[in-house]
C-alpha cells in the first residue's frame, strides 16, 4: 500500500494549517467566556503580608478575583514529581513571576486593569537566586524538606531532599579510584550550561468550564491524561469528571508537558461559575517553564592510546522554585553523563536544586543536551593528547549493540559506530579545511520513551472509513499523519479514508504522554494493534461472506478480495450487521506487563543523539558561522522519511540556537531578556549554509516494524558538534552559549597560551 509505512505521505493537517482553518486553543469561542489574568510576584522571595482585592473586585466588568483563600476547601498543592507547588502562592512567593492572584473579567483590558488594583504587601526575604547561593551553607531554604511529598507520577525512588537539593540521583559502575589510577591521560574541567526558553510560538493557553461537579478543559497541553489526573486530585473529582480536550498545539518541545496553567484556570472558572480563558503572553510563558541551567564538573581518564577507562561527573541543575520535571531531567542527565563508551568505571552524582528562579522543566532532549557537549569535548581533548583522530577514538571506544549502557538498564539497541561513520562521511572528514574552519562531531544517548503505557481504538465506520482514537497530541511533529499511515498499513485503506481527531479524554483512550520521542513507537504500537484487530474482523467477515478460508482473502484498497471478486469494507460491515449501520471496533494496548517485561527495565529505547558541524571562525569578532550541519536519524524504520527529516532539521536548528546564542539572563532572580525583543531564537538568517540528514533504518527499535522514536537527538548532537568544531580551530570553551564575546575571549586566551610556548601557567 503506497500510503502505509515508509512513504512520504503529505501531512494530513497541512491543508487546514495553510488556510488558517486549523483550530488552536486560543481560537475557540464559548458563550459567556471570561478572560483571566494572573497577578505575578515582582520579588524573588518574599512573605505575603496582606492581599487586598476589594478595589479589583468592585471594578465593573470583573466577575471574580481569586487568591489562595479561595482554595481552603481543597489540598491546593500539585506537582507530578514533587507535590511542592501551591496553585497560587500561599503566604510567600518564591520567584519573580509566581502567580499569587488571578482575575476573571468580561474582557482582557478590564482583567488587566483589575490586576493593578490588587494591593499586596510583601516582606522581602533573603533569596537564593543562583545555584551557588542555593547550595551555600547559610542559604535561605526554598521549602521545608520534611513537607515535600512525592507527586502522582514521581517514579524516581527516594527523594533524599537535603537543604535546597530536592532530589539526588547517582549511578556508578566499577572501582572508580582503581580505574583512574590506571589512567595515563586525565582531562578535568568545570562547565556551565545556560537557562534556555523553549519558545513554543503559541504560549500556554487554557479554557476551563466548570459545570456542576465536573469540568471541561481545552488546553494546549502535551499530556492530557497526566493533567487530568492532577486536576482530578486537586479538585477532588473522579477522573472521568475532568474532560481535557486538546486542539492543535502551536509547538510544545516539552514546555507544555505536565500541568502548567490548567489549575489556576480551573480554580478561576470554579469560582466564577463561567468559562474562563487564560492565555499566557510570552513574558509569562518564560516564567512558566524553561530549560535548567546547570553547573557540571567532569573528569575523564584514558590510556595513552586513547582507550577510555573512567569518568566521574558531578552536576547541579537549577530547577527553580518548584521541582516541575526537574527530578526526571536530573535522572536523564545522569544517564547521559557517561556517554556511550565502554568504561571500566564511571560515577555520576546528580543534584536537583531549588533556587528563587522560575521553575525549570522539560525541553526537547533534556539531560542529553546538557551533558553531551561536555562529555564529547573531553573525548576530543583526550584524542588530541593521545594523537588519535576524533572519529577513530569513537570507533575504538563506542559501545556495540547489546552491550550494557548503564547498570540495570536496557542494553544498547543501536549501531553507533555506523552512525558516527555516516556523520564523518557527510562532513568529508579528513579532507582539507579552509582557513579558520573546524569540524566536529558528537555522539550520545538519550533515555527515551517514558512509561510504556498507551492505548488506542480504531473504529471502522459503516461507510468503510476509519477513525483512529489515540491521545497523542499533534504539536507539529506529525503524529496524526503517522498514526494515519500505521492504520492505513494494517487496514489496507487509503489515507484519505482515515481520520485522526485530536485528544479528548472523554473519547480518545489513555496515553501516558506525548514526549520523550515515544508516540510513534508506543502509541503507534497501540494503533497498530487496534488496527490489526479490525483487520482480523474484516477477514473473518469476508471469509463468511465469500465462504472461503481466511487465508484465501486479501485486503487491498478498502476492500476484501477473493481473486477478482471484491466486497468493500462498507459492504462487509453491512453484511455482518444485516443493516445499513454498525461499526467494527479494534483496541490496542501497550503495557510493560503485556510485553513480557522487556520494557520494565527502561528506557523503552535509547534515542541516538549524533550531530556533525563545520564552522568558520571570524577571528576579529569571535563570531561563528555554521557552514555545515549534519544529523543522523537512527530510527529503526521511518514511517514517513520526510517527517523524520523535518524533525531532524527543527531539532538541529534548536541545537544551533542553544549552542550559539540562546540564554535567559537573570539578575537577582529577575529575567533581563524576558521578551522576544531581547531573547533571540534562530531566524532564516541564522541558517547554516548546508544541512545534511542521513536516515538509518536497522529495524532495531521496540515499536511495530522495528520502529523507534526520533526528533530529539539532533538537539543534543548539534551543540556537541559545534563545540568540538570550535576546539578543532584551537578555541576551547567551557560555557554555553558561544556568544562572539565569549569565543573572542577564549580565542585571546588560546593565543596568549600559544605565545607562552603552550606551557601551562
Amino acid at each position: 500500500m503506497s500510503e502505509g509505512i515508509g512513504h512520504n505521505v503529505p501531512r494530513v493537517d497541512a491543508r487546514s494549517k495553510v488556510t488558517g482553518e486549523a483550530i488552536f486553543t486560543g481560537d475557540l469561542k464559548l458563550s459567556g467566556l471570561l478572560h483571566g489574568k494572573v497577578l505575578r510576584s515582582p520579588y524573588p522571595h518574599a512573605l505575603i503580608r496582606r492581599i487586598n482585592t476589594d478595589r479589583a473586585a468592585s471594578l465593573p466588568g470583573v466577575v471574580s478575583v481569586l487568591t489562595s483563600t479561595d482554595l481552603e476547601d481543597i489540598d491546593p498543592y500539585y506537582g507530578h514529581s514533587i507535590k511542592d507547588r501551591p496553585l497560587l502562592a500561599i503566604d510567600r512567593v518564591r520567584f519573580v513571576g509566581e502567580p499569587l492572584a488571578a482575575v476573571a473579567a468580561e474582557d482582557e483590558v478590564t482583567a488587566e486593569q483589575a490586576l493593578s488594583l490588587i494591593e499586596v504587601e510583601y516582606e522581602d526575604l533573603p533569596a537564593a537566586t543562583t545555584l551557588e547561593e542555593a547550595l551555600s551553607d547559610d542559604a535561605p531554604r526554598l521549602h521545608e524538606t520534611d513537607t515535600l511529598r512525592p507527586g502522582l507520577f514521581h517514579g524516581l525512588g527516594e527523594l533524599n531532599p537535603d537543604g535546597n537539593i530536592c532530589y539526588q540521583h547517582s549511578i556508578h559502575r566499577g572501582d572508580l579510584a582503581e580505574a583512574f589510577k590506571q589512567a595515563e591521560i586525565i582531562v578535568e574541567q568545570e562547565y556551565t550550561f545556560p537557562a534556555v526558553y523553549q519558545y513554543a510560538m503559541e504560549p500556554h493557553t487554557v479554557i476551563a468550564a466548570w459545570e456542576g461537579k465536573s469540568v471541561t478543559v481545552w488546553a494546549s497541553c502535551q499530556h492530557p491524561y497526566l493533567v487530568r489526573a492532577e486536576l482530578a486530585e486537586l479538585f477532588d473529582l473522579p477522573v472521568a469528571s475532568v474532560r481535557i480536550i486538546v486542539p492543535f498545539l502551536g509547538g510544545g518541545f516539552g514546555s507544555k508537558s505536565y500541568t502548567k496553567m490548567e489549575p489556576i484556570t480551573v480554580a478561576l472558572a470554579r469560582k466564577a461559575r463561567r468559562p474562563v480563558r487564560i492565555a499566557n503572553r510570552v513574558d509569562e510563558a518564560m516564567v512558566t517553564t524553561r530549560r535548567h541551567n546547570m553547573r557540571c564538573w567532569m573528569r575523564t581518564g584514558a590510556l595513552a592510546d586513547g582507550t577510555l577507562i573512567a569518568r566521574h561527573v558531578r552536576l547541579w541543575m537549577d530547577t527553580g522554585a518548584y521541582a516541575d520535571n526537574g527530578p526526571r531531567v536530573v535522572a536523564t542527565a545522569a544517564d547521559a553523563a557517561p556517554g556511550p563508551y565502554r568504561w571500566k568505571s564511571f560515577q555520576v552524582e546528580a543534584y536537583c536544586v531549588y533556587t528563587n528562579r522560575p521553575p525549570s522543566g522539560s525541553y526537547r532532549a533534556f539531560g542529553a543536551t546538557h551533558l553531551q557537549w561536555i562529555g564529547e569535548s573531553q573525548v576530543d581533548e583526550i584524542a588530541r593528547q593521545a594523537g588519535v583522530d576524533p572519529v577513530d577514538i569513537r570507533i575504538q571506544n563506542l559501545l556495540r549493540p547489546g552491550e550494557e549502557v548503564r547498570p540495570g538498564g536496557k542494553a544498547l539497541d543501536a549501531d553507533l559506530v555506523g552512525d558516527v561513520q555516516k556523520i564523518a562521511d557527510a562532513l568529508d572528514w579528513g579532507s582539507p579545511k579552509p582557513p579558520d574552519t573546524g569540524r566536529g562531531l558528537g555522539v550520545g544517548l538519550l533515555a527515551a520513551g517514558a512509561r510504556p503505557v498507551s492505548t488506542a481504538i480504531v473504529r471502522m465506520e459503516i461507510d468503510g472509513h476509519a477513525t483512529v482514537l489515540v491521545s497523542s497530541t499533534e504539536m507539529g511533529q506529525g503524529v496524526r499523519t503517522v498514526m494515519s499511515q500505521l492504520a492505513s498499513q494494517e487496514l489496507a485503506l487509503p489515507i484519505e479514508h482515515i481520520r485522526v481527531p485530536g485528544g479528548d479524554t472523554w473519547i480518545t483512550p489513555y496515553d501516558r504522554s506525548t514526549g520523550a520521542s515515544r508516540s510513534t513507537t508506543l502509541a503507534g504500537m497501540a494503533v497498530h494493534r487496534a488496527a490489526r484487530e479490525v483487520r482480523q474482523q474484516l477477514l473473518e467477515i469476508a471469509s463468511q461472506a465469500f465462504e472461503v478460508a481466511l487465508e484465501a482473502i486479501e485486503l487491498r484498497d478498502g476492500a476484501a478480495w477473493r481473486g477478482d471478486q471484491s466486497l468493500s469494507y462498507s459492504e462487509l460491515i453491512q453484511f455482518h450487521f444485516g443493516f445499513t449501520g454498525g461499526e467494527l471496533i479494534g483496541r490496542g494496548e501497550v503495557s510493560p506487563g503485556g510485553n513480557k517485561g522487556s520494557y520494565a527495565e527502561g528506557p523503552v529505547f535509547w534515542e541516538v543523539c549524533v550531530g556533525g558541524a563545520e564552522v568558520r571562525l571570524d577571528r576579529d569578532t569571535g563570531r561563528l558561522h555554521i557552514t555545515k550541519l549534519v544529523s543522523v536519524a537512527d530510527v529503526g524504520q521511518a514511517v514517513n522519511p520526510d517527517l523524520v527529516k523535518a524533525q531532524e532539521m527543527g531539532a538541529s536548528m534548536q541545537g544551533l540556537g542553544n549552542a550559539l546564542f540562546e540564554e535567559m539572563i537573570f539578575d537577582e532572580g529577575q529575567i533581563l531578556n524576558g521578551t522576544l525583543l531581547d531573547y533571540h531564537i534562530p531566524t532564516t538568517e541564522d541558517m547554516p549554509d548546508q544541512f545534511i540528514s542521513r536516515l538509518v533504518e536497522n529495524e532495531d527499535g521496540p515499536g511495530p516494524y522495528g520502529i523507534k522514536g526520533a526528533g530529539e537527538g539532533a538537539l543534543a548532537g548539534v551543540p556537541a558538534a559545534i563545540v568540538n568544531a570550535l576546539a578543532d580551530i584551537g578555541v576551547q570553551v567551557t560555557e554555553l552559549p558561544l556568544t562572539p564575546e565569549r569565543v573572542w575571549q577564549a580565542l585571546r586566551e588560546a593565543e596568549a597560551e600559544h605565545d607562552d610556548g603552550g606551557s601551562p601557567s
Partner: protein
Amino acid sequence: MRVESADVYNSAQIQIRMIVNGQSMEATIEPRELLLDFLRDRLGLTGAKRSCDVQVCGTCTVLMDGRPVSACCTLVYEAQNRELLTIEGLADGDELHPLQQSFVEQSALQCGFCTPGMILTANSLLEEIPNPTRQQIQHYLKGNLCRCTGYWSVLEAVELAARRLQAEGQSEGSA
C-alpha cells in the same frame, strides 16, 4: 451608563471603512483597538495568531495594501480606507493559492502556528520580487520566526511557488 474602567480607553468611538479579504466593510471601533484583536475577536478571522506581542515573531502578519504588517502592533484605525488580506482570503474558494499549495507539498510547516504569517509575508515578497534568490528569501522572511521547521522546507516551498507563479505568468502572457 458611564463605565469607570473604560474611561481611559473609550473616550471616543470611531467609524472606519476598510476592505477585508475583498469585502468592503464599516465598523465602529475604539481608538485603542488593536488590529489583531479586531480580526480575531470581532471578525472571527483567527488565522493571524498572537505570540510575541512586540513585532518580532511575525505570526500575526496580515497584508495591508499588499505590505506585511504585524497586527499585534497595529491599531485598527491605521487600516482606515485600506485593503487588508488575511490568510482566510488567500485561496480562491477551494483552490489553494500556489504558495499554500507549495507549503502543503513541501511539508513546509509543522505546528502551523507561524504558517499563515509566513505565507502572507512570502506572498508580499513574490509580488515585489517574482524570482527571488535564496538570500533574498532569507532576508525577507527574517521577521517570521518558526521554531519547528528550521526553515529549510519553507525556503523550498517559496522557491517552488515562485517557479509556478512565474510559469503561470508566462503562459498567461503568451496567451
